[in-house]
Symmetry: D2
Subunit: 357 residues, 4 copies
């Protein structure tokens, strides 16, 4: 393993769980990375095949002929400097711990190290947390908020897709204490990649196309993650109403966030707070006053576009926050975290223009 | 004109403004109506053509060879017993008044007679109301709430699409006074037919497909209509936060409505109130406890599917209400109102099964 | 069982295999049928539930509370006059034979009785045909061509979706012998309901949305069915190149059929032949000269819309044929066949206007 | 202007016509180009605004604050080394000639210089060709076929989207003379960006979504372009049947090409010819034997994925060719041509991984 990753040499990366949509997205992003080289991709179901056999889009590209292997911690430890875990919660926990023990830097895209309180984890995920000793070391990987901690970390709990959109949308207002902390309502809409790539009737094309539905109203597992992070920002425990919906599109999360202002403010005041907070964070784009963001403008990128409305009739600040759930909400953010851990520029491999239309 | 419309003879109907999506939908629905016969369809732009020339879907059907005419009040009055106005607000006002004076029953699908207070109309629609004398006669055409008045009416203000979904969703809870009347947040999502059939870049396929956006946050013209009707139900003036979004689908509105309960209740109590209120209203379907509605299950029909969630963590009652914006939210409801005005069964021509998938 | 089905009494129908898309569609259509009453719906996986439990769209409708049963031939025979089989090929064969023996009229939506030559069946479907004795009795259920035979039949082989679009598109030209019979190329595009409702990764939303692909080029199982029927019409054996593609929509088949004329003709000649052939077949709509059909104009109906182009540069007659694969291409056609077998008007329950948009 | 473009200095580029989809795509691609810098973008309608005002997706990126100007030849000539013309045919002709005279390298994305015979141009495009003197200098910009000529060119006729997919699909087979040159049928399907960004009812979301249609059967303007290029490759004049269809997706063209082999061959023979022809052309990916391409695997890239089927039953070679119509079929190819003209690596700014899903 490299002792210092910030020099010009190549960093060797492994991806545990390559067949899902977050795995596909990480392969796409690492295609254009100048320093990190993907040397291991694993899948129990597809081991022995080349990446291009299961993902024809990689044919002829840098990683098309990479052979998929069984996930093996010893092999990964010997071959890689850093590992990305794109496997389900529960499954990630032990693999993350083992690779971490063997000295790898680990970015875990699952929920396993996001909740600092293992009781909360066990209650919402209905599974035991068997690696609670690692929780204090795990850093919540939201670069705009925690870049310094991430740079020093060896284990990253990569944020959930919904929490990323919500936390970035609320951070300036909560940090500046302009909101009534409780009573926040989040109405979030996600593309279908958020449901994963498992064969299942409810996510068949003909069950999602030309329709729309809510799901998990008030019970989605991202709720405690959102509350943990917002409470930390607000420096007071708060409870949110988080309510997801399924959009008939592939990528993207748009969260409409309903809040109440502590005191009378103008929209210019609010714009100034948001623009100030994110002045040196180029991935967060505050829309000009009076404009609202759209999902397509962030497609395939790390951008989080935020629109602000002050509704004088109801004394509410309404925040609309858009991200690409696969890139910013998962694999792109994982790569940004890896960049920071490795001493690379945070945007290495991530300076992409949105694909519009 | 018929002296009594409730006998078996045919009712002659005119449709003013046939080229838009609500016009198309009314043609579709009248195709299967046993008593009402469409004898006039008007359009300035397409006069002289047959319906099947502009709508190939009507070719060979009952109305395919109906010739489109210029809108002419005298001709309409001579030829028709009832008129449906599917023209923009402002344009509908005078035509409605004229036809009404000439003795026709009128169902106005525009907003022109929905708001009882013409000042509110003028403020939100930026146009003068020139027929305020008709406002007291106009009946708000929501059959579940106002069937008796509709039966006696000669001028129907057909409800807006968003208001239909919201009012039906909130009616039992507000009528039973179980909610804090203020502070209600409505996050509504509509298919693109709601934006009409006018050539415009923002509603081109490539600007709507594979994306999602909010629009008119806090400023949509359906807001005062919703507030007027909810205030009447609650018997107290209330203000709502109404926030629409544009879905990449053709038809359907799903409104997620965030409310606060006055007192502790169980979900069974709430289900009982909703099921009781709509017990003899077959078009409103209360989902079984724990189930949420989907847009596709109401496609092409008059159904309003309502799901109820009591979120104990935030003490909120969250109501999810689904309709087909073109059928229940416009032309189907117009036909139901016509049926009632004419002494016909309310569901004549409207007893349709949803098209799924 | 009824001795004569043509009287006013209710016909009792059973549907074997209700959970797939063709089952759903038949439930939708029978909702509006005045004579046939659905009394049994079967599914091994869902037995014991009500229809509305698995299809919320049926909630509150005529069949919503119908209880799903295990498929049992004795029970079906006792309870029903006619059975629709919406189960996979192979599985249908024995059930069809058993119910037929017990005296039921049977409409088999599978491929099991479509091919007159069991060797061809076994070669293309890789399964033994165990009920070849029934093949001579089975009538190919395309009402425009075989209404007389269908009326006398007790077992209907309901045509495949692609064959329906292709045969109706080519029938006038082949029957009038204006085409070179060999060398026909069919480029067909189908919505995703054609792939069925089985959980599988290739038909997940995110694998079908925003993309397009060919499949089964030259090898699709509908090829021998198309060739059998076209050869019969042309009175000469012919071979076609049949090539399907998967559209990112739910319903509809559009087949573009490339043919060569035997002799020089004008487009008016060709139009006259098509219009003449289908003059008394209201479900087949020949587009006016110069106009091409679109899938949406047949949505949810029995229409087959046909457009004709004579390309003078290449001496080709190009035929574009559109149907709704679920209605005309499966369940609606099954119902039309049932109507004919039962002495009912062929369009009973099927006089529907297309849902546009 | 630079005397030699192959050194490390920046090349200054102008884009005439920035508001359409090809303009948007070129902005996206130039975002990631290391040598070419976009210094002028023009639009009569939007002059004075910044790019980010009309394309929020560019906000905060390299070109977001670039001010849109009126198209002015003198200004463009003074400011730029190379110009891309993304304006309609007819309009491009004079601007191309003027900028060319002023010494700029010009890549014309319109059809104005594609057809070598101005009579054919005038016949298919119904407009006079006023700059025929430039036709001999214009090079047809398909890099795989004409890289050497492109490198020396000063005026590029950038190929049409459909022709790109068809020519790349047929080139190996025609060059190797394995096909009967006449009788080729091309059934092509395009996403809706191909129809441009003009406000028009037929390309509204609700007119394209959830449907499918053919258009321009036998009469599309890309026909003579395809025939010109294929005839040159085959070294014999040939006529094709070219038939486009409109897909309910944003990007992509899939062409299914039906051909007849001159002599018996195996699929291995054909695969070998195709793989050999494109062995050193990394953007053309021949699918492994038995696999067919999909549109999504080329999304956002220069790839042309080609699948080959030899149908023994009909003695046909069926070629399926996929491209992204906006990138490979327009702006990406324009950039590749610019790279070649400027002495840069052909793939500068174009080494992108497909966005899947």
């Amino acid at each position: 393993m490299t002792s210092s990753a910030s020099d010009a040499q190549t960093i060797r990366a492994g991806l545990v769980g390559v067949t899902g949509y977050t795995g596909m997205e990480l392969v796409r992003l690492l295609h254009g990375h100048g320093t990190i080289n993907l040397v291991r991709v694993t899948s129990r179901a597809e081991a022995g095949k080349c990446l291009e056999d299961i993902y024809p889009f990689t044919r002829g590209t840098r990683y098309g002929s990479l052979v998929i292997t069984e996930p093996d911690a010893d092999d990964l430890a010997a071959a890689c400097d850093i590992a990305f875990l794109a496997v389900p919660h529960g499954a990630a926990m032990e693999m993350a711990a083992t690779l971490h023990e063997k000295g790898l830097k680990v970015v875990d895209l699952s929920a396993d190290f996001r909740l600092r309180d293992s009781d909360v984890y066990e209650q919402w995920y209905n599974t035991d947390h068997t690696r609670t000793e690692l929780l204090p070391q795990a850093v919540y990987g939201l670069p705009e908020l925690y870049a310094d901690e991430i740079k020093k970390a060896t284990l990253i709990a990569n944020p959930g897709c919904y929490p990323t959109s919500v936390i970035l949308g609320l951070y300036p207002a909560l940090a500046e204490k302009i909101l009534v902390p409780n009573g926040i309502v989040i109405d979030a809409k996600s593309g279908a990649t958020g449901a994963g790539r498992k064969a299942a009737v409810p996510t068949l094309f003909c069950e999602v196309q030309d329709t729309f539905r809510a799901y998990g109203i008030g019970t989605h597992r991202h709720t405690p993650e959102i509350e943990q992070e917002l409470s930390a920002i607000a420096a007071t425990p708060l409870t949110v109403s988080f309510n997801p919906h399924l959009l008939p599109i592939n990528r993207g999360i748009l969260a409409t966030i309903y809040t109440t202002l502590q005191h009378d403010m103008t929209i210019d005041d609010v714009q100034a707070i948001y623009e100030g907070t994110y002045a040196d964070k180029p991935w967060v784009r505050i829309m000009p006053k009076g404009k609202l963001p759209e999902l397509r403008h962030v497609r395939g990128t790390m951008y989080c576009d935020i629109g602000l409305v002050l509704d004088k009739r109801t004394h509410r600040l309404i925040i609309v926050s858009c991200i690409d759930n696969l890139c910013r909400g998962a694999s792109g953010q994982a790569l940004a975290n890896a960049n920071l851990m490795l001493g690379l520029p945070v945007n290495a491999g991530l300076d992409l223009a949105p694909l519009v239309p």
